[in-house]
């Protein structure tokens, strides 16, 4: 089953979800380590992997958005209160915004810092802004702020999924799990 239907996520949607979940968690760890590491070849390597992963995530989120637009999302459980529906919509919307805004602000910081960079040593990353420290510093702060926001939204996202499963006992969590989960 490739396409989503009213009740279930198709395989591509699940694959996007879990591959990106793993990449995003790794990305947060890499970013925090890179930012806090003392200046050394290790720090530069951490930044290299962080930047490469970030550009991979940006590519994946673009494909994922296309897939999402071409596919309906399964319906939320019946009887969900309005505030929960609103919260679900807001948090999912924020996740998509952040999945784009974080790589893009990172890209701006890299361009403004004028650091030569090839994604995974292969693809030269073109500059999207002119080299300027006055751009790099504030955008780096924004990048960090967005990470804090992402962490909050992820806690809400994971918390809500667990609540659906263990408290409300509906299929919201299991229908995103790999394999065929028909309840």
């Amino acid at each position: 089953m490739l396409r989503n239907d009213a009740d279930f996520w198709g395989a591509p949607a699940k694959l996007f979800h879990w591959v990106m979940a793993a990449l995003i968690l790794a990305q947060i760890v890499l970013g925090v380590m890179a930012a806090s590491w003392r200046l050394s070849p290790t720090k530069l390597n951490l930044f290299f992997w962080h930047k490469s992963t970030g550009m991979l995530i940006l590519l994946l989120v673009a494909l994922r958005l296309l897939w999402r637009l071409a596919n309906r999302a399964p319906a939320l459980p019946e009887g969900m209160p309005v505030w929960e529906r609103a919260a679900a919509q807001l948090s999912h919307g924020l996740l998509y915004v952040l999945m784009i805004a974080l790589p893009v602000t990172g890209w701006i910081v890299n361009s403004a810092s004028n650091i030569p960079f090839r994604i995974f040593w292969l693809i030269p990353l073109p500059a999207i802004v002119a080299p300027d420290k006055a751009t790099a510093d504030p955008v780096a702060l924004v990048h960090g702020g967005l990470v804090a926001l992402l962490a909050l939204v992820l806690v809400a996202h994971i918390g809500a999924a667990l609540r659906h499963h263990f408290v409300k006992r509906n299929a919201v969590l299991v229908r995103m799990l790999p394999g065929k989960w028909r309840t």
Binding site: S40, P41, L44, F48, S113, I115, P116
Partner: protein
């Protein structure tokens, strides 16, 4: 009469000297038309920089390069890699060590033609307190108002202790640094 002849002879000698100067001419650098770049690599990607201040002095006859000489002085402290954080970092002891070794120098010991308008200057590069033999190949293009020498060579940064300690490893910052130059010259005097 005898005195006049002597004077005339002297004048003739000096005149002849002016028309046919010593074969190797002295050349001075025109800083505005000259550029000295060094291209390091960062994560296998070119990371270019320049030495904004340097001077080349050349005694050279393109047709008879034997006996020619090339001397270049480089103000290491004028290095600019166009990245604020990197420019701050390369001042330090691990890299160029501005305080200890503000100047680098190349002096040729031998200069010869390799083919056509291509030449090779062999000599010694003194950089960060280390003297190492290097070969500087260059092309020579003469024009009415002067000449241009252009070339590039590869230097191992490790040989000069550029990138000390943990930075000596070459996975992140490559071992090879390409040096590219374009020097505009005009005849001195």
């Amino acid at each position: 009469m005898k005195q006049t002849l002597v004077r005339f002879g002297l004048c003739a000698l000096i005149y002849a000297g002016a028309l046919h100067p010593a074969l190797a001419a002295d050349w001075k650098m025109d800083p505005a038309g000259s550029k000295l770049e060094f291209i390091a690599t960062f994560e296998k990607t070119a990371a270019p920089g320049v030495f904004k201040e340097f001077d080349a002095r050349l005694r050279f006859d393109p047709d008879k390069p034997a006996g020619s000489s090339l001397e270049v002085t480089i103000k290491v402290t004028s290095a600019d890699m166009n990245i604020a954080d990197v420019n701050k970092e390369i001042r330090g002891k691990d890299w160029f060590d501005y305080a200890g070794f503000p100047q680098a120098e190349f002096r040729s010991t031998d200069l010869r033609r390799t083919e056509g308008n291509r030449y090779l200057a062999r000599g010694t590069l003194s950089l960060k307190g280390v003297k190492q033999p290097v070969e500087v190949p260059f092309s020579w293009t003469g024009a009415a108002d002067g000449a241009t020498m252009e070339g590039e060579l590869t230097v191992k940064r490790g040989a000069f202790g550029i990138g000390a300690g943990e930075w000596a490893a070459s996975e992140v910052i490559g071992a090879d640094v390409k040096v590219k130059f374009r020097v505009k010259l005009h005849k001195a005097g």
